[in-house]
Symmetry: C2
């Protein structure tokens, strides 16, 4: 049997998933590492910790199958966190840890760039929002605040390119990861001269852009040995975790949106060409040169639900524990008793600032429309609806860029809640499908490997492997209520925005 | 000893308070009656129930003192709920129950009048906001929707005038009560021809306006007998409960504001002449021809605190019961642990629409500025601060009309809470005094009777009788925070107003 391994290089762990030749999960292994927040706004990883986790997770899944009888690992392929940056000197000695997407120390530089017209000009070529998450901003910050590093830096890689460099001595970056750097022209698929100039680097400091289907084979023997792999096992570059999560739920055809709500969330639609939002509200990242994922990341997802649990439903959290039940389940049951529209209570979920659709780090949360008959149950349903309305606002921006949405594939924690899935169907007025795609990121990486190795013709083959799915249809009674509330939510989000800077400043200056 | 009785004719009860010649309370009696809400927006009283309650409460306090030894009741005087209306036919048979200030069935007529320029023109002469509470609006509504009543109505009185008519056959209304009808010109102290025309009535359908110091003496013997009064006991007309409550806490000199927060609330400042807010945000009612009370009524006071108790602090309400403590006390203790400004969380308290300062029946409540670190304790303090900020907004409107406030006399339920008093001192940046004026309305009525009967020269004598008081000084550390937040609160209240009509419409159409 030919097995394949999909590797998910995440922000706080690496997961290796071993699939059989029917793309069924046979084994998986998850190894964690720290996210260093030594000082405010820092979010770094140690690349040696990542490498150890990577090697061990691969080794661990391989040891779970018997490869003695001609069975083999036919390929290893990758899904990787995007936007990370590591600086190396000319001898390939690291000058930094892994500066992750979550690191926001470059905010002053991205803000300045955004305010100048230059930001929009660069965004319109790179598809990456001008934001501290992007390597473009991080390079500006390094040059200004750590010239001792920037001056010595001969090479810059991300987390996945570092793995490939360590294993193969390669200096390449797939165009999917490249498309999230803020430095890569997504129309001519080359590093963008203007962006490089702004970042203060030259093209030779960056890896060579390659297809996600490219692969390496001649691994350093010592690493092959420790993982239990043959030295000529193909390592397929794969792509960024965002675009791959669309592939992983079969949301790669035009008009199909993938919505993920975990701690934070995102909505992404595939387009067959790179397209840009003239208003700068969305990102455009490559899956490969024929599939582009346009979307918006939202900060406020399950994290906000957690805030409601800990602060509004602390009593019920205790009750759930006494009942031996999950607090979120109990809360969902409570919210389900309130009609769609929460009896006219709205919630803007921006507890932690927001990226799409408003891109305002100072945004804050609000309840609006409270009357004497509203209870905590109304507030809870309003919280769930508010998270959903916000994603809906992003979808409206997406539709301006890529055209109408036709259906939604839902994943992440929220997809486990029937109430929430129905809410998405009702607010979006679209059928919502929840694929049983377990380990969809790793599966998508493996599908790319199969195409890379010529085993399949098209990545659309993934549709055969994502399992059964449940589809939720919009309920006319509910969507009628949401149709009336959505415009109020949207107009209010503009009205409220006028005071976000002021209240955030007060909160910072008076923080205890 | 010469006793006097102050009668407080309220919306759901009548209270008689018997004072000795040192103005100390000797006895009191409170008798309740129903407020009929047979259909939506109706709020009526039965005048026979009121009359019985009135007679019994007077009789009850008289029976508590010995009047055998030359002691006597030297006067009965009145504080009365304002804005009530009763229609009588030409034989003085009642055609309606008492339509109270709380009855809002006339809202369409007041709205229409307000939208036409005519509303502002009439307000600028009568001092009564164009609102369904006012007899002006009620008369328009009666004429349009109940012509069978309006056509037969030969006389209109309010609740207090009905009592005087029943006891003395009088057909008079003191200028204080008259100033709350919306029909009375507060500059020439006559019924306003234009307002009467709009109301569709003539002057002879209305009582004769008289001084609050006028009194009647020849009572019908049967009523004197049942109350235990001499037939020639002077009954002083007295005034409206709003203006008298200023007198009752010695807030009758320029620049002294009286703030009352009970279920709802009000802030009132005395002026020595009638003055009008060109923006129509305040009322101007007479105490007597030399004292005018300019102020704003707010709907959202203790009622909002109660909502927070029942909906956000239901768990603590149970805990308080187990502790044998008052839930509000426990909540106040919780709120006191949060710093001034609630860590940058704002609350607009309009759960039940609002009168002053925004005069918007569709206004609704909101929390603004929520972040991950905010707890229910922040929300609670924000509720208290929001109620206070709103009264502060009214005070800014008042200051435009009557000049700077110099100090605040506080009464009502909130005045019992040291936290809340301090909050008022800090937000207003004014000393807040809490007079020990128990039964201040009845005391003020009795002080007017003493002036009416020539026993004192000036109503300012009341200062000697309101007891000791506590004064709270603004705390610089706190008022600094509020100075930063107040402008945000005020600007937001304008931003939020743009969506009140829409959310209120949704709530009405989707009410369960």
């Amino acid at each position: 049997m030919d097995y394949m391994i999909g590797v998910d290089l995440g922000t706080t762990s690496t997961k290796a998933v071993l699939f059989d030749d029917q793309n069924k999960v046979v084994a998986q292994s998850n190894m964690g590492y720290d996210l260093y927040r030594d000082i405010p706004d820092m979010a770094e990883e140690d690349m040696e910790e990542i490498f150890v986790a990577f090697v061990n997770s691969i080794g661990s899944v391989i040891r779970k199958v018997d490869l003695s009888d001609g069975d083999k690992i036919a390929a290893v392929s990758f899904s990787s966190a995007m936007h990370s940056l590591i600086a190396f000197d000319e001898d390939w000695k690291p000058l930094t840890r892994v500066i992750t997407w979550a690191d926001t120390r470059a905010v002053d530089y991205s803000d300045k760039l955004k305010e100048s017209g230059l930001g929009q000009e660069i965004y319109s070529k790179t598809g990456t929002p001008i934001h501290p998450m992007a390597p473009l901003s991080k390079l500006m910050w390094l040059k200004a605040e750590h010239p001792e590093i920037a001056d010595k830096a001969a090479h810059y890689l991300g987390i996945k390119e570092f793995i490939f460099h360590r294993l193969f001595g390669a200096n390449k970056m797939d165009i999917s990861i490249a498309s999230g750097t803020g430095l890569f022209n997504i129309f001519d698929l080359k590093w963008d001269k203007q962006a490089l100039e702004v970042a203060g680097i030259t093209e030779k400091q960056l890896p060579e852009p390659v297809s996600p289907y490219e692969y390496e084979t001649k691994m350093l023997p010592k690493y092959a040995a420790v993982m239990g792999l043959l030295e000529d096992t193909p390592f397929v570059y794969g792509a960024g975790d965002g675009p791959l999560s669309n592939l992983g739920v079969d949301a790669v055809k035009p008009g199909v949106a993938a919505i993920t709500i975990g701690t934070s969330g995102a909505i992404r639609v595939t387009s067959d060409k790179p397209v840009i939002d003239p208003k700068g509200r969305t990102f455009t990242y490559a899956l490969d040169k024929d599939h582009w994922v346009v979307g918006g990341p939202v900060n406020n997802g399950g994290d906000v639900f957690r805030w409601a649990r800990d602060n509004l439903f602390d009593a019920e959290k205790s009750t759930a524990a006494l009942l031996g039940r999950d607090a979120y389940d109990l809360m969902t049951e409570i919210a389900a008793r309130i009609p769609a529209g929460s009896d006219g209570l709205l919630f803007h979920p921006y507890l932690g600032g927001e990226r799409a659709p408003i891109w305002d780090a100072n945004a804050r949360g609000s309840f609006f429309g409270l009357n004497h008959s509203h209870t905590r149950a109304n507030m809870l349903r309003a919280v769930l609806e508010g998270i959903t309305f916000n994603v809906y606002m992003v979808s409206l921006a997406l539709e301006e860029v890529v055209g109408s949405l036709k259906s939604i594939q839902a994943t992440g924690g929220f997809a486990r809640s029937p109430l929430w899935r129905q809410m998405f169907a009702d607010i979006f007025e679209q059928p919502v499908t929840v694929p049983q795609a377990f380990e969809s990121g790793a599966l998508a990486a493996v599908i790319m490997a199969q195409k890379a190795l010529g085993k399949i013709d098209s990545i659309y083959e993934i549709a055969n492997y994502i399992g059964d799915s449940n589809t939720y249809q919009p309920d006319p009674e509910n969507f009628q209520a949401y149709r009336e509330l959505a415009p109020i939510f949207i107009r209010l989000s503009r009205q409220l925005q006028t005071e976000y800077d002021n209240i955030a400043r007060f909160q910072r200056e008076h923080s205890r």
